[in-house]
Symmetry: C2
Subunit: 224 residues, 2 copies
DNA sequence: CGATCGCTTGATTCCGATCAACAGGAGTGG
DNA sequence: CCACTCCTGTTGATCGGAATCAAGCGATCG
């Protein structure tokens, strides 16, 4: 088990990067505390009570499910501005861990639900959030169930580049192992596939965590 | 494209099997029309407007996503009593087809959303429904990403037996191909794996569509 | 009866997993 | 500064499981 090295501070207004203008997000920034998590710290675990709602300020978080023999499925990466930890049941059905040192706004779930009971707009946003996540996860299922290694990696790269920057240069916050567990592959296969893509002049790898997309069309073609 | 051979009739009260007591379900039965779909009929397609909400009365429905080269991921099977077709966006992100001849209650989405705007209880149920689906899909991701063929088939059998009957005898409404596309395998592998399970005395296959679970413990062990 | 469809079974291939060694950086401490 | 370890990522060799290709089988139906 990891040690909680959380630095709690009151949130200073709405000065956060990635802050969206919608009212739920705004409410979270007003009501929440800002906490720092060190790399690899477990934010919550599978089966723990769903006490809080979270919004990434900086850093990156992974959600995952574990099989008791250690096999792992990463279900999502959460980037700055995104909300996670929202579930209807009273216990989390998966765990969340900081991939890099991260700062995260944390709000009592009961406070948000209280808001939603009075404010239809907030309630609707909670639903929308869940529904968007559902759609994202269903796209992920298509990757896991239908695609080969090359297609999976290509899909991941396109998806990721769309999410954080629109530039062709990607800075990956997660390890090869995280990517592998996200795609249902092994670390070795992810590594090999990326180097192969570099050899095909589809991407460039200045360092292992930085990727330049040189040929988006080729990547999309792999996706079909 | 398939031919719509729908027999529309007004719904006679709340006499349907699988009718749940919750108010959303009840409202759908009151407001909806009951339509018959023949086997393999497409109820709606990917990209079509989300005009309706559906509730299975009898038969079974599959939801799936297609890759343009024909590869298919079945994302869910919908059994009697279950609601499907609920999405936030204005177009469907996947298609739905009747696996067997089915009768389905169909309700204008706008009517339900209208209800939800006035009735907080209904709104909450819409959210709950989406969240439950999200949880189900995340469990499905674990199957697709982490498991081998044997484990996948075992997981499917246990999951299915829990859903429809608690008896050990299962009557499958779907083909081997449907199961394969649900599990991210080929038809041949599903067939082989099932026969292997029969050889191990874990299950019995009186016919290809009827399965008797003789050793649930062994199936659960495969799941880990 | 032939025909089609869903399923099974066999032979072979191939992709990705596995096992293993190694390389490169970052951080630490002498 | 170097020597050291730890960690992540790369690369190679081999193996195995599931896909693929192909044939056969048994229902159901016109």
């Amino acid at each position: 088990m990891l040690i909680r090295t959380a630095t709690t501070t009151r949130t200073p207004g709405r000065l956060f990067p990635g802050a969206s203008t919608d009212s739920l997000s705004a409410a979270m920034e007003l009501m929440g505390a800002c906490i720092s998590y060190v790399r690899n710290f477990e934010i919550y675990g599978e089966g723990e009570p769903t006490e809080y709602l979270y919004k990434v300020v900086s850093g990156t978080v992974r959600s995952c499910k574990l099989l008791d023999d250690g096999r792992r499925q990463v279900t999502a990466f959460h980037m700055p501005g995104e909300i996670f930890g929202l579930e209807v049941g009273d216990t989390h059905s998966f765990s969340a861990e900081a991939i890099a040192d991260s700062t995260i706004i944390v709000v009592k779930r009961s406070a948000i639900l209280g808001l939603a009971a009075r404010d239809v707009e907030i309630a609707h946003q909670l639903w929308t959030l869940t529904a968007r996540e559902l759609q994202r996860v269903q796209d992920h299922m298509l990757i896991l169930g239908c695609m080969g290694a090359k297609e999976k990696v290509a899909a991941f790269l396109l998806q990721f580049s769309k999410r954080c920057s629109d530039s062709n240069e990607i800075k990956l916050p997660m390890s090869r192992q995280d990517i592998a567990d996200y795609l249902g592959l092994t670390m070795e296969t992810v590594s090999r596939t990326m180097n192969q893509l570099e050899h095909d002049a589809t991407i460039t790898l200045p360092t292992s965590r930085r990727i330049v997309l040189r040929n988006r069309a080729a990547l999309k073609r792999l996706n079909a």
